[in-house]
Amino acid sequence: MTRFFARRVAQAMLLLVVVSAGVFALAALAPGDYFAELRSDPRVDPAAIETLRARYGLDRPLAVRYGVWLGEAVRGDLGVSLAYNMPVTELLAPRAGKSLELAATAWVLGWILSLALAVGAAVRPGGWMDRTTGWLVSGLLVLPEVLLAPVLALVAARTGILRLGGFELALLALTPGVAPVLLRHGRAALKEAAGAAYVEAARARGIAGRRLWLVYIFPAAANPLISLFGMSFAGVLSGSLVVEAVTGWPGMGPLFLDSIAGRDFYVVVAVTLMMAALLAAGNLAADAMLYALDPRLRRPQ
């Protein structure tokens, strides 16, 4: 067990190092930096710009910068925001909290809704629930956040039913995007499990109702769903960026967009890395669940 997890944790760490190195390497290809704009201003002494760049370590070679940054990042210091002139961690923490609050709520809500509907569809294949969820999947797939968020923001601004920048509006714009993928896979997995031969055999032995679903069908259907765990959260985070920026929810999305436009180097790196860390954590959690549910993984090979 410890070996299984030690390997997974090591893989996650490697992922974070690869992502951060990749982002740093990209920075080397980029022309200009945060202080490039100052250079076009004749009133600013070029020496002063060089001093500023030196203060933030932008004058050193890339490998050195990455080494220094990595050493500090391991200790929880992600550098300084050039635009806000404050530590990146202090800048990001409240916004990351807001983003997580929104994304996690939408994600949980999406899972609950899709699982409930998927069970409804699997109980009676070909029934009205099954057909409705089939259409719901295609219906929701054509409503991406890029479309839903502006429409809801428009409704909010015109009617005042929902408040711009409020949690409900953001949640309403984000949740529908989570559901279709989960619903489609959940429906397929549950249907497949419910139609398996051993379920038929269990039915023949007189096992029915809740016991049949909880003991025979769910555990078998859980496997493919758990592997969706991490990926579905990645989807929510992407959607969340759009929703936050359009509806005005003060999460990481708007900050990320501003930091890209403003060439706020360390903030861009930190946000990208935070996303990778979140996903790595999500995948680890999924692995732990798989380990708990799938006896095949526990058997030594």
Binding site: A30, V142, P150, A153, L154, A157, L237, S238, V242, I260
Partner: protein
């Protein structure tokens, strides 16, 4: 889900749409960049039928003018100095209808080209993984996991962050196609790898190998044909994703930029909901996304089934 011949309609609609954006020069009454500063933010204008002719109100003076067909190299329009905006105008008095056609050209083309690039890279990587040496397989699949592990939008924006902000629209177009294609290769690659592996075990491939056929001969001759259907389905699924990616990037000012026009650049207004609330027709390009995605989905379903 059975949908019968629905996909034929969907394919027809898509073909029509692509033809329309390619023929924007004729169908659009104005050029995408043509400004009429006297008539900014005009709401979509109704068409009236009077005396056997179509009549519209001049967006500047309000006088009634007749719609002229097939004149001046355009399908329809009104005689200058009058202007007519079927779907309204933006803050610079540019015709939204014309911009939607010219913008669709960029958005829809970028989506298709991006999908082609990522399919090509994905196919190559998948087959290399399935047929190549084990270490290459491991390397490619790990690299793919990194691409899949990150939220695609953050990944795309993260990469975009390190390109110059002010770029020529044409450069952005090429960059977008390449970047999106490079970042989207992982999912098709995994699929093609799985299919390649299962085909590798099939009787006829083994027989061909037994006759001394090389791996690449087998890949070309025996596998590609089998993969065609999957390629089509994947393509139809990828195009809407890249369409959304372009719209999202441009919407936030990080994709196609002025003077270029795409559905995304037209939608940058959504970042100011108060502005949008006063001029809701500015969000019309977003409304086009739903039917386009739906049609691509119907085609993907039909090809999968």
């Amino acid at each position: 889900m059975t949908r019968g011949g629905g996909w034929k309609w969907a394919a027809g609609v898509l073909a029509g749409l692509y033809a329309a954006v390619l023929g924007a020069g004729y169908l659009a009454p104005y050029d995408a960049a043509e400004q009429h500063r006297e008539a900014p933010l005009v709401a979509p204008q109704a068409v009236h039928f009077e005396g056997g002719r179509l009549v519209v109100a001049d967006a500047i003076s309000g006088r009634k003018v007749a719609v002229r067909w097939f004149s001046g190299g355009h399908l329809f329009g009104v005689e200058a100095p009058a202007v007519y905006f079927p779907l309204g105008s933006d803050a610079f008095g540019r015709d939204q209808f014309s911009r939607m056609l010219y913008g669709g050209r960029i958005s829809l083309m970028a989506a298709v080209l991006g999908a082609l690039v990522s399919l090509g890279v994905g196919l190559a990587a998948g087959l290399l993984s399935a047929l190549g040496p084990v270490w290459l397989d491991a390397l490619l699949m790990r690299a793919g996991e990194v691409c899949l592990a990150l939220p695609w939008l953050y990944l795309l924006l993260g990469v975009r962050a390190f390109l110059p902000l002010a770029l020529e629209p044409d450069t952005v177009f090429v960059l977008f196609v390449l970047l999106a294609g490079m970042l989207g290769w992982a999912r098709p690659a995994r699929l093609f790898r799985g299919l390649g592996l299962s085909l590798k075990q099939s009787g006829y491939v083994e027989a061909a190998r037994g006759f001394g056929a090389s791996r690449w001969y087998v890949a070309r001759r025996h596998m590609l044909g089998e993969l065609k259907g999957v390629l089509g389905t994947q393509g139809a699924l990828l195009v809407p994703q890249f369409l959304l990616a372009e719209v999202t990037l441009s919407m936030f000012g990080l994709g196609i930029n002025e003077p270029g026009v795409s559905w995304g650049t037209m939608l940058d207004v959504v970042r100011e909901p108060a502005m949008l609330a006063m001029h809701p027709w500015m969000a019309l390009p977003a409304m086009l996304l739903a039917p386009v995605i739906f049609c691509f989905q119907l085609c993907a379903d039909a090809m999968a089934g």
